[in-house]
């Protein structure tokens, strides 16, 4: 009697693949499967913009997975498949857009901001060092110590 819930849990655990988003069988060729997996986790679903097409259940994501699968089956390279998507949906379709004039700010801004913050910090620290420290100032006049 007590085994029944446990058994049920085990059976339900077996049904886990039912929750899979991509229901297509994997590629026989391991390299192609790897390319397919890499692409579907790099391409943004444009309907639900914070998910990749590999994570999304949106109909458009299913269509884009199917297109990517077709192109992989045709033996296209990663760059060719990315080009296919870029000419249709633009830079936004890739989670890591290619580096070019239009995306330079996006890629360089973090580096520039970090450099700016680092420089500012260095300048502030150097200035503080040149000032007489708080401890020195306290020692110069410490009326409470006389006891």
């Amino acid at each position: 009697m007590t085994l029944r819930p446990l058994l049920l849990a085990c059976l339900l655990a077996c049904a886990w693949p039912a929750a899979a988003i991509d229901t297509e069988p994997p590629f026989a060729d391991q390299q192609r499967e790897a390319l397919y997996q890499r692409l579907i986790h790099e391409v943004r679903c444009l309907v639900c913009q914070n998910q990749t097409v590999g994570d999304s259940t949106a109909p458009l994501a299913a269509d884009l997975r199917r297109e990517i699968r077709r192109l992989v089956e045709e033996g296209r390279s990663e760059a060719e498949i990315e080009d296919f998507l870029l000419t249709r949906y633009g830079d936004f379709v890739l989670y890591r857009p290619r580096f070019r004039a239009g995306t330079a700010v996006l890629w360089l801004a973090p580096v520039l901001l970090l450099a700016l913050a680092g420089t500012t910090l260095a300048v502030v620290i150097r200035r503080r060092r040149r000032l007489p420290s708080d401890v020195d100032a306290d020692e110069g006049a410490s009326p409470e110590v006389r006891g």
């Binding site: 444009l46 458009l60 269509d63 297109e67 870029l86 000419t87 249709r88 949906y89 633009g90 936004f92």
Partner: protein, 178 residues
């Protein structure tokens, strides 16, 4: 002086940047198709699946390609405006029925009126991917030679029509490149 001015200028720049960012619609994805040749397609027609609707059918004058579906709420919202446009005979409107049931689509046009010269049925969404479609309704403005002039994502309204479409159509018909 610089000590106070610099942070204030930096803050002002940040405020401007964030204000601009707040006003932009994060759902809007600019189309790389604009200014380029429209992707070719050949789709069975909704009224007669034995005939095809091709990109070349749009040629000759500026035309609209409207992406719609019966499951799309925004499409119902813009439908009366499309009817109004069609009645005004200012431009030919072609439809791309996207991932829809042709029976429901035919009934929709019978019930709400048919503003389209012809509708192509894109049941598996292949043609829509070629056009970079990601959310119906979407309306493309294509010139006489088959070049994409503009794309509007969201229901068409009289305001959008007057501001974005009318000047581009006039410029294209006058032979000027907008």
């Amino acid at each position: 002086m610089l000590r106070y001015l610099l942070p204030i200028v930096a803050l002002a720049a940040l405020v401007v940047l964030l204000a601009v960012g707040l006003r932009r619609d994060p759902g809007f994805v600019p189309s790389p198709l604009i200014g380029r040749q429209a992707p070719a397609f050949s789709l069975p027609r909704l009224d007669d699946p034995s005939r095809q609707l091709d990109l070349t059918d749009l040629a000759g004058d500026v035309a609209l390609l409207n992406v719609w579906a019966t499951w799309c709420g925004g499409c119902r919202q813009e439908h009366p405006f499309l009817m109004q446009l069609a009645a005004g005979r200012q431009i030919r409107i072609f439809g791309l029925n996207w991932k829809d049931d042709p029976v429901l689509a035919t009934r929709w046009l019978a019930d709400l009126g048919n503003p389209y010269v012809a509708v192509g049925v894109d049941q598996d969404g292949r043609a829509a991917i070629d056009w970079g479609v990601y959310g119906a309704p979407e309306t493309f403005l294509v010139d006489a030679t088959g070049r994409v002039l503009y794309k509007h994502i969201a229901p068409l309204t009289a305001e959008v029509w007057a501001a974005e479409f009318v000047p581009r159509i006039a410029a294209s018909r006058a032979g000027r490149v907008p």
